[in-house]
Every structure is written in C-alpha cells, then in structure tokens.
C-alpha cells in the first residue's frame, strides 16, 4: 500500500501523461497494412504442376477441410488424377498439409485478407494455384460484391 495517500494516483497520472507524446502503436489499416512474418500460415495454395495425388494432405487435415477431388491436369506427374480441394472457410490454418506433403506442392501463403460475404468457399485445385487477388478478379461472386 502506498505510504503517502494519493501518491500512487499521482504516479499513475504521471505515467499516462508520459505516454501522451509517444509514437502511436496503431496504424490506419486499409491504407497501411501490417506485414506478416515469413512463416505466416495464411491461405492454402497449390503448385498444380507438382502434385502427385498422394492424398497425404487430405489424410493430415484435422477437420476435413482438405479433400481429394478428381481432376485432370498433368497426367505425367499425377497418374491417379486426384488433386486436393480446400474448403477455405473451414480451414484452421494448422499447416499440417504443408508439413506432410512429399513434393512441396501444397503450401501455405502469406495471404490473410480472406473476408467474404458468403459462408462457404470451396477452392478447386485450379483456384488454389492462383493468388487471392486473381481469384477475386476472376470470380467476383467469391469476393466482394
């Protein structure tokens, strides 16, 4: 307990006054964006040409947001013709799919602005190969209206 009454209050008020002129912690979001770390686990993406269709990513996915779908793209690499598709709205960004992928095909990107007006967003293998901006430009119903 403070020995002198009100001393603690004055000390506290001095502390807040000291902070008055300090540089601000916040920044104005839509104009100034916060950079994310190198290892940031953002939206999942796919290097389509490399996928061998081993379905490890689908096996490692904790909540079934990553599943395999039939799709013809590169029969030389992927003889089974199955590629992962991701329910991006359901993804919990654990990064297990990237960790288990043997050919560094499925990976997490640093894209984190994934707000939608819709609830579900199932990304086909082709969409996973693109960046978020490309998807928004090509399929406006997925992105902002």
């Amino acid at each position: 307990m403070a020995s002198i009454p009100l001393m603690g209050i004055f000390k506290g008020m001095a502390t807040t006054l000291k902070h008055l002129g300090r540089p601000k912690d916040t920044y104005e979001y839509p104009e100034v964006k916060r950079g994310v770390a190198e290892r940031w686990r953002g939206r999942i993406a796919l290097r389509l040409d490399r996928c061998i269709g081993c379905s490890m990513c689908a096996q490692a996915c904790p909540n079934g947001s990553c599943t395999m779908t039939d799709f013809e793209h590169n029969p030389d690499a992927n003889k089974k013709g199955t590629y992962p598709q991701v329910e991006v709205a359901k993804c919990i960004y654990c990064g297990f799919c990237e960790e288990v992928c043997p050919v560094e095909c499925i990976h997490v990107t640093r894209e984190y602005e994934l707000a939608r007006y819709q609830r579900g967003a199932l990304y086909s293998p082709v969409m996973l190969d693109k960046t978020e901006n490309q998807i928004r430009a090509e399929e406006p119903e997925m992105g902002d209206p």
Binding site: A2, I9, K11, A60, Y93
Partner: protein, 388 residues
C-alpha cells in the same frame, strides 16, 4: 414463515421475503456480459447489491473437444488444443506433447526443450499482459488495457516470427518443435525483453500503488490456503494464498530444473494477492527467457522418427499417461489412454480455469456486484478452457 409479496414493476418481478424487510432479486450475469470474459453465465441471487448466492452456469462454449480427439490421429488433436485456452495456446500444446512423450517414451532433444521454454515463457508474458489489460478494464481503467496490449503485440510478433501464427499456434510436435528459430530471432527476443521490462516498470507505477485500486482489491474475494487446496485451485490463484506450488519447480519438466527463478507468492489470498502474483511472475519470465537464451544449445529440434510426414503416423503403445504443465493460469493436464492404434482411445483435459472458477461462489457470496466482477477477473479464467 416467509410471506411472499410480489411487486410487479411491469414485468420485473421482485420477490419480497421475510416481512418485506429484505428484497431478493435474481440477476443473470451473462452469458453475454462485458465482464464474464466469454460466454459464462452467473446466476446471482441478490439482496440489494449484495450477492447472496452465486451459481456459475457453464457449457455455452462446449465444443466436445474430448470427443473430437477420438476421431482423428494423435497429432490432429494438437491444433484443437490451441482452441482450448486460446490466450496461451503454446501451453496446451505443451501439455498434450508432454503427456504424449511420457506415453510413447520419446526423448526430446535439448535444443527443442530450450525453444519450448523460450516460446512458452513468451506466451506466459502474453497471457499475463492480457490479464493486466482486462483486469484494469473490469476495474474501469481503460488506458492500461492499451499499454498492455501494445506490449502483448510485441510478444505475439515474436511468437509469430517463430511459429507462423499469433493465437492458434500449433508449434509443438511429439518429441520436439516444428521450427527452429529464424535468423536473428534470439537477438530480437533479447532486445524486446529489455523493452518490455522497462514498460513493466511503468505498468507497475500505474497499477500497483494506485489508491483506488488498492481500495477495490484488498480484502475482496478472500480465500484461505485450505479452501484453495480443497477446491483444486492451481496457479496464481493458489499461490496468492501462500502455498508455494509451481509445477515448474515441484514436478519439473523440460529444462526447468536448470532454470533459476523464484515462485512469487502472496499470503493474503485476496484479489490484490492474485494480481500481485501475476505481475511479479512476469519479472520471473523475463529472467527465464534471458537464461534460456544464454544457454541455448545447438542440435536437432525434434526426435528421430517424429518429423515430416511421420507426424500423422504416431502409434503409441497400449498404455496410459498423465502429463501436466504449469500454464499462466494453473495446472493443465492431459490424461491419454492409448489402445495401440493411430487414434487416441480417450483424451481428458484437466483445465486450469475449470477448477479455478469453481471457487467463485466462495469468493463472491456476501460481497457486492462490483466485487463479483473483480473477483471473477482476478481468477483470470478463459472460457475456452472451462467448456472445452
């Protein structure tokens, strides 16, 4: 004999009992209330502003995590544990990993243990910063919230650099950790810790000696050591009653036997004691981080056979284990039962907040609504851990 008179204030029914001298009112604090830190509902039976009876009602955030755990492979529960105590995710990972390592008898490399200590103590700082901010907010102090969140942001930035996420971290693997530290990370941790320590001094000035804060906290929500032990309270809630019990010291894990730090205790057992234990614990965390950075050895970061795509193939023997860690809020333990298959047979999480919250009726009965809020805040509960 109790004569009950009903006074209808247009729908609000007040019951007058005992010859109209005492008025009782039932008040639902929550499930959505600014001070319940989540979706907790307190059924308060009030006499004026004095709480006669308090009954916490749980389950508004129940997500059946223990059932979810039985559905997937062992490692698939790791990201789910992040969502339990979502403001100290690393410790949930750690508890689960520790239980698994005891179950499967995995040797964790030394460097991994040091990385665990550094990231874990950073997480403890983040959790205590959140506590300081929201505790001030519950007392009506708005500005400390921004200061402590500014500092927490720096800590989370470091955790983000190390693990790639800020809240749902999923950094630990069975037998080690996912990432080694990035280039220059240890230097940044060191400089950030220096900066945080200077800020911690300011927070101390702002909060600890404040007369109104002392008036609000001293003698409020008092609990004795026997009561706390009987209630199963752990962490700062127990240490505030004078019991020097810290799993890091008394049942150590990882490299904690090597770490030199004190276990801060208070003897009052009131809200001020719990607050002081936490704010002093932060200084110990600075110490531990510095020591761990000094002693950081080289070597592998994950045990052989548990890295890469092998993480989903873990198949522990037909055994049981109980592994627990000291989180910022108390004892978090995982009881695992394995039937020698790829999936857990049973996972039970012993939540710190679940046991700590149980003492709330003891603390608040007989005090006012304002003290109820302070007592609840001083327990530093997180509903994700209570309801699981």
């Amino acid at each position: 004999m109790q004569e009950q008179v009903k006074v209808a204030a247009r729908g609000t029914t007040w019951t007058l009992e005992g010859e109209g001298r005492e008025r009782f009112m039932d008040l639902n604090m929550g499930p959505q209330h600014p001070s319940t830190h989540g979706v907790l509902r307190l059924k308060l039976h009030l006499n004026g502003e004095v709480v006669e009876r308090c009954e916490p009602v749980l389950g508004y955030l129940h997500r059946a995590k223990e059932k979810i755990a039985e559905k997937g492979q062992w490692i698939k529960f790791m990201p789910i544990t992040d969502r339990m105590d979502y403001i100290a995710g690393i410790y949930n990972n750690w508890g689960y990993a520790r239980a698994m390592e005891e179950l499967h008898e995995i040797e964790v490399p030394e460097r991994a243990e040091y990385l665990r200590v550094v990231s874990g103590e950073l997480q403890r700082l983040a959790s205590h910063y959140l506590f300081l901010g929201t505790f001030g907010l519950d007392l009506g102090m708005i500005t400390p919230f921004f200061y402590s969140f500014g500092d927490r942001e720096k800590v989370l930035g470091l955790i983000e650099e190390l693990t790639g996420a800020r809240l749902t971290i999923t950094y630990f693997r069975f037998g080690g950790v996912k990432w080694d530290a990035p280039e220059g990370w240890f230097d940044r941790v060191e400089s950030t810790v220096d900066e945080l320590e200077a800020h911690h001094k300011e927070m101390w000035d702002l909060l600890v000696e404040n007369d109104i804060l002392n008036m609000r906290l001293r003698g409020v929500g008092v609990m004795t050591e026997e009561e706390a032990v009987s209630l199963g309270c752990t962490g700062p809630v127990l240490r505030a009653t004078g019991k020097e019990y810290d799993i890091r010291k008394d049942d150590p894990y990882g490299v904690y036997p090597r770490m030199r730090f004190d276990v801060p205790t208070e003897t009052t057992g009131d809200c001020y004691g719990r607050f002081m234990v936490r704010i002093r614990e932060m200084k110990e965390s600075f110490k531990i981080i510095r020591q761990a950075l000094r002693e950081m050895p080289d070597g592998p970061i994950i045990a052989k056979g548990f890295d890469g795509s092998k993480i989903i193939r873990t198949k522990p023997p037909n055994k049981e284990s109980y592994g627990r860690v000291e989180t910022p809020k108390g004892e978090l333990g995982f009881w695992l039962v394995s039937d020698n298959s790829m999936k857990p047979y049973r996972v039970k999480a012993r939540g710190h907040s679940f046991s700590n919250l149980h003492c709330l009726p003891l603390l608040v009965e007989g005090s006012t609504i304002a003290d109820t809020v302070v007592s609840l805040a001083s327990l530093d509960i997180v509903l994700g851990d209570i309801d699981r």
